[in-house]
C-alpha cells in the first residue's frame, strides 16, 4: 500500500513537472511605461525600430537576449522573425544610419536589470524571471 502510494506520488510529480517548466516569454517594460498603450502593433513597431519614442516622451530602448528559446519564442510571436533575422534587421539599420541597435545580453537576469534601470526600456524574459522591478505586459493589453 505504502509502495503504491509512493509510486502515485512520484507519477504525480512527474506529471506536474512540465507545468512548472512551461513558462512563457513575457514582455517586460520599465515602470515608467505603466499605463502606456502597448498593443501588439505598437510593440512590433518599437522592436523593428520604426517607433523610437513612447507617448510619454521617453526614447524606446530595447534589451535583447542574444539567443536561446526565450529570444526565439518572443521574437517569433512579436515580430515573426527568428533571433538571427532580428539581429540582421538591426545590423542593417545600425550600420546604415537607420537606428541605434538594441542592447544585447547573455542572460535574462541582465535583461531584467537593464529594463528595470533604463527609462523607456522593453525586453523579453521568461515569465519565471520577471519580478516586481518591472511591469509585465499581458498580451493584448
Amino acid at each position: 500500500m505504502k509502495t503504491t502510494f509512493l509510486r502515485w506520488g512520484m507519477l504525480s510529480l512527474l506529471a506536474l513537472a512540465p507545468l512548472a517548466l512551461r513558462a512563457e516569454p513575457v514582455l517586460i517594460v520599465h515602470k515608467g511605461l505603466e499605463g502606456q498603450a502597448l498593443d501588439a502593433a505598437t510593440v512590433k513597431s518599437a522592436l523593428l525600430g520604426k517607433k523610437v519614442a513612447w507617448d510619454n516622451g521617453t526614447r524606446v530602448t530595447i534589451g535583447a537576449l542574444k539567443s536561446g528559446p526565450v529570444a526565439d519564442g518572443a521574437l517569433k510571436a512579436a515580430v515573426d522573425q527568428t533571433a538571427s533575422q532580428f539581429l540582421n534587421h538591426w545590423r542593417r539599420l545600425a550600420m546604415t544610419g537607420g537606428g541605434i541597435a538594441p542592447k544585447s545580453f547573455d542572460s535574462e537576469a541582465e535583461v531584467l536589470k537593464f529594463v528595470a534601470e533604463t527609462p523607456g526600456a522593453i525586453g523579453f524574459v521568461d515569465s519565471a524571471t520577471a519580478d516586481a522591478s518591472v511591469v509585465v505586459v499581458k498580451p493584448g493589453s
Binding site: S45, A53, D80, T82, N88, R91, A94, M95, G97, I100
Partner: protein
C-alpha cells in the same frame, strides 16, 4: 597603375588580417562591442581572396588570384532626446584596383523621427534601392559574398552607395492589409575619377575616352515596400534617377582631342519580393537601368545620341541551418540590350555560398560562381580581358573572413 605595390600591400594587409583573425579565434576579439555613454560604436573588417578561371579577370584582376579584396568600416551613433539621432560611418575598401583603400565618409546624418509614419534624415544618406543597396557593404547580414552584380555592382558604389541631401521616410499601418514602408530622397553625389574609381572604369570600359572628370547634378527617387498580411512576405518597388551625369577626358582613338558622355537622365527601377519563413529567406528582384546617352568628340565632329539599357533579374534562397552555418544560392541573369554588335550582351551567374559563424564577432564565407557569358566583364587596365568572348563561361571562387562588432 603600380600593380606590384598593390600586390605587396595586399599581402601585408592579408598578413595583418590573418594575425587579427588568429587573435579573434583565440578568444581575444580584435574588436569588442563599445558603448560609451549614449554613443554606440560598431564596425567591421573583412579580408578575402578571389580567383577566376580561363584567364578572365572579374570583377577585378583575379585570374592569378588576389588578396586585394577587403573592406573596413567604423560607425558611431547617438540619440539626442527621444526623437533625434546623429551618426556617421567611415568606410574603405579594395577590390583589386577598385577602392584603393581610400577612406571615405560613407554616411553621416541627422535623423528626426517625428512618428513612425514620418521621419526626416539629412546629410550623407545611404541610398535606398531594392532589397540590398543600403546594406551592400554589409556581408554580415547574408550568406553571400557577392550579391548579383548586374544589380548590386561593388565596382559602382561611387554612383550608388550614398548621396548628400535629404530623405523622408516612414511606415504606414494598413490594418489587415499589413503596412507600407516608404522612403523618398533628393540629393547629389561626388563621382570620383581618381585612381581606383569603379565608375571611371565603367566609363573607360566603353572605349571612347579616358575619364578625367565626372559630375552628377542630382539624384532622386522613391522606395516603397508593402509588408503583406502574409507573415514574412514583402513586396517592393524602387525608382531612382541619376540626373545629368557628365564625364569627359582624352578621346581614346586620338588623345589630343577631348571626348565626353552625357546621360541626361539615367534611371533605375527594381521590383522586389522577399519572403522570410522560419530559417529560410527567399528573394527575387527584377531591375532595369535605362536612359539616353550622348557621346561627343567635337574635334572630329562626333555627336551620337543613343539609348542605353540593361536588365538584371535573380532568384535566391538562403537557409540558416543552425547558429553556426548558413547556406545560400542564387541564379542571376544580366542583359545589356544595347551592346554593340559582336560584344557580349548577356551573363548568367549561378552562385553557391556557405557561411560559418565562428562566434558572434567572426564569420567565414566560401562562395563559388559559374558564370556563363561576359556582358558584365570589363576590359580595362584594372580588369584586363583582351580576349573577352560573348559565349565563354568561367568560374569565380571567393573566400572571405569578417570581424565585426
Amino acid at each position: 597603375m603600380n600593380t606590384r605595390s598593390h600586390t605587396q600591400g595586399g599581402r601585408r594587409a592579408a598578413r595583418l588580417a590573418l594575425v587579427s583573425i588568429a587573435a579573434a579565434l583565440a578568444g581575444a576579439p580584435v574588436f569588442a562591442a563599445v558603448s560609451v555613454g549614449d554613443v554606440q560604436i560598431g564596425g567591421f573588417f573583412s579580408q578575402g581572396y578571389l580567383t577566376t578561371s580561363n584567364d578572365v579577370n572579374y570583377p577585378a584582376e583575379t585570374a592569378d588570384g588576389t588578396w586585394d579584396f577587403r573592406e573596413a568600416a567604423i560607425n558611431a551613433s547617438m540619440p539626442i532626446g527621444s526623437k533625434l539621432r546623429i551618426g556617421a560611418q567611415v568606410f574603405e575598401y579594395r577590390l583589386g584596383d577598385y577602392g584603393d583603400d581610400r577612406i571615405v565618409l560613407d554616411w553621416a546624418s541627422i535623423d528626426y523621427n517625428v512618428a513612425p509614419e514620418f521621419g526626416l534624415r539629412a546629410g550623407r544618406v545611404k541610398k535606398p534601392r531594392g532589397l540590398h543597396n543600403e546594406a551592400l557593404d554589409l556581408d554580415l547580414v547574408r550568406p553571400f559574398i557577392f550579391l548579383p552584380m548586374g544589380m548590386y555592382d561593388p565596382r559602382l558604389r561611387d554612383f550608388n552607395a550614398s548621396f548628400d541631401g535629404g530623405m523622408v521616410y516612414g511606415s504606414l499601418e494598413a490594418g489587415k492589409a499589413g503596412s507600407f514602408d516608404y522612403k523618398a530622397f533628393y540629393g547629389t553625389a561626388d563621382i570620383s575619377t581618381k585612381e581606383g574609381s569603379g565608375v571611371a572604369d565603367y566609363l573607360r570600359n566603353a572605349g571612347i575616352f579616358e575619364p578625367t572628370d565626372a559630375d552628377l547634378e542630382a539624384t532622386y527617387g522613391a522606395w516603397g515596400f508593402w509588408n503583406t498580411p502574409v507573415a514574412g512576405l514583402r513586396v517592393g518597388l524602387s525608382y531612382s534617377v541619376l540626373d545629368s551625369v557628365v564625364s569627359s577626358g582624352p578621346f581614346m582613338p586620338m588623345p589630343v582631342l577631348e571626348g565626353s558622355i552625357e546621360l541626361p537622365e539615367y534611371k533605375n527601377m527594381i521590383f522586389s519580393v522577399e519572403y522570410l519563413k522560419d530559417d529560410w529567406t527567399f528573394a527575387a528582384e527584377y531591375g532595369r537601368d535605362w536612359g539616353d546617352a550622348r557621346i561627343q568628340a567635337p574635334g572630329i565632329g562626333l555627336d551620337n545620341l543613343g539609348e542605353t539599357e540593361s536588365v538584371t533579374w535573380y532568384i535566391s534562397a538562403a537557409r540558416r541551418l543552425n547558429e553556426r552555418f548558413e547556406v545560400g544560392a542564387y541564379y542571376s541573369q544580366f542583359s545589356a540590350e544595347t551592346a554593340s554588335a559582336g560584344e557580349p550582351d548577356s551573363q548568367g551567374d549561378i552562385a553557391l555560398s556557405v557561411r560559418f559563424d565562428v562566434n558572434e564577432h567572426v564569420l567565414v564565407k566560401l562562395e563559388g560562381h559559374y558564370i556563363d557569358g561576359q556582358a558584365h566583364v570589363f576590359d580595362t587596365p584594372s580588369a584586363p580581358n583582351p580576349n573577352r568572348a560573348a559565349d565563354e563561361s568561367f568560374t569565380l571562387l571567393a573566400a572571405k573572413m569578417t570581424l565585426s562588432f
